[in-house]
């Protein structure tokens, strides 16, 4: 196992508001990690910094030993919590796009998944239902053979059946020697797939442990322990 994600004294401020307050974190390959915290705890900010969509105020963040940039973007697959694909494009156009820009994109794998959902090749994204669009986004992201996957709230706002599909897709498609970081506040749904949990509270890490350790030490599920830590 090697360190694929590392933050040292990472701070991100928006004006006078500190979204991240000195985060120190090391995550290794071959793990599925839950980045868990309530809304506004800094999960999305941390993921945006890792994808160079934001610049840190101070401190460092590295992906496989490299600061975020074109080099890390080539080995990082990111699923934002937004509709991020151009809605005028067709399914096969999106496959071409991913194939053109990401050398690690496995088109065959993506096509098989799209076929299993009966999504036509020439269907325009705009004409798809919200659920189908989200599945297409997930399929494209998980069809990359990336070193690090960042999945920001992948199951928020979808029905239970879609949640199962999303989690199955993640588990069935990630590279075993890669690192998967899933940000969510819906702990109960993802708990079964996680190896480790990172609790983020008001921009600070309050816990980083394996799921088994949390269960053994607290005698509670991660979801129950999360509710206790973040009790209002």
């Amino acid at each position: 196992m090697s360190v694929l994600f590392e933050c040292k004294d990472l701070v991100k401020s928006y004006g006078s508001t500190q979204a991240l307050r000195g985060v120190n974190l090391q995550l290794q390959s071959g793990r599925i990690v839950g980045l868990l915290g309530p809304n506004g705890s800094g999960k999305t900010t941390l993921i945006k910094l890792a994808n160079r969509l934001l610049q840190p105020t101070s401190g460092t963040l590295t992906i496989d030993g490299e600061a975020p940039g074109t080099g890390t973007k080539a080995v990082t697959a990111y699923l934002p919590d937004k509709d991020f694909l151009p809605d005028w494009m067709r399914t096969d156009g999106l496959l071409n796009f991913y194939q053109d820009f990401f050398p690690d994109f496995d088109r065959e794998r993506a096509q098989t998944m799209l076929d299993s959902l009966d999504i036509p090749k020439n269907m325009i994204l705009k004409k798809m239902s919200k659920g189908t669009r989200e599945k297409v986004q997930l399929i494209l992201t998980m069809s990359r053979r990336a070193k690090v996957y960042f999945l920001d709230e992948p199951i928020a706002g979808v029905d239970p059946a879609a949640r199962d599909y999303i989690l199955r897709t993640i588990i069935g498609n990630y590279q075993e020697d890669s690192l998967v970081i899933i940000s969510t506040h819906l702990i109960a749904d993802v708990e079964s797939v996680l190896d480790e949990a990172v609790f983020l509270k008001q921009g600070q890490i309050v816990l980083h442990q394996s799921i088994d350790e949390i269960r053994e030490e607290t005698g509670k599920s991660v979801d129950e322990y999360f509710r206790e830590v973040f009790k209002c």
Partner: protein
Amino acid sequence: MLGKLLKYEIRAMGRIMLPLYLVMIFAAGLFAVNMRLGLSGTAKTVVEKFALITGFLFFAAILAVMVVMTLMVVQRFYRNLLGTEGYLMFTLPVTTLQHIVCKALTSLLWIVIGIGAGVLSGFLMVGILSNIPEFMEELQEAWRMFFSTDGLAVRIVLFAVLVIVGIVESVCKVYAAMAAGHQFSGHRILASVGAYIVFGIVELILGTVFSADNKVFGGLVGSVGRAVGNIPNGSMLVFILVALIGVIVYGGLSWYLLDRRLNLE
């Protein structure tokens, strides 16, 4: 990677612009045919009405091309880079400079094609309305003059360069205004318009400072002006240089704001 970006960007703009240009050329042809029929004197009143309608259609098409082109320049940058699509575009293994160059070159390409389509429409109308062999002869004569008149070819080429650099400068100014407007957390479109106005005011102030009438710099500007006046096509070269400075300033500002101060919603 720039080539790949260009491929998708040209397609994205082309799916809107190309049909519009074809409509403009078609409307020009239709208008000219009706005009010619009207001039020949057959079924005058009906043809005149058609000529009026098709004439209106042609000018509406020209107006639509100009409005849509402007909107496309704005929309492709704002939506594709600063909107939610930015989450895809800025996570591609591509540099910020490549994104800006791609957007500016594609806008330039479609504007130049638009100018070409406009010229083609003009030729089509003249061709239909006049005697075609005569028209071709006049064209050949103009071509001969282009090469035989001293310095005309150089002047026209320099003018074309000025138009191209001027278009890129205008496009970069719009990009910089949007990137600046995006620094605000709310009312970003309004802030972008505000930034564009501020850029205009700054340009105006600089224009006043560096004019021959200015008390401080006037003498210097005057002597530079006289020196430039002695160089063939000197003023044209100065305009090109000023436009190039604009490209660097506005392009550089866009790059800085997108690369170092990006804040997608």
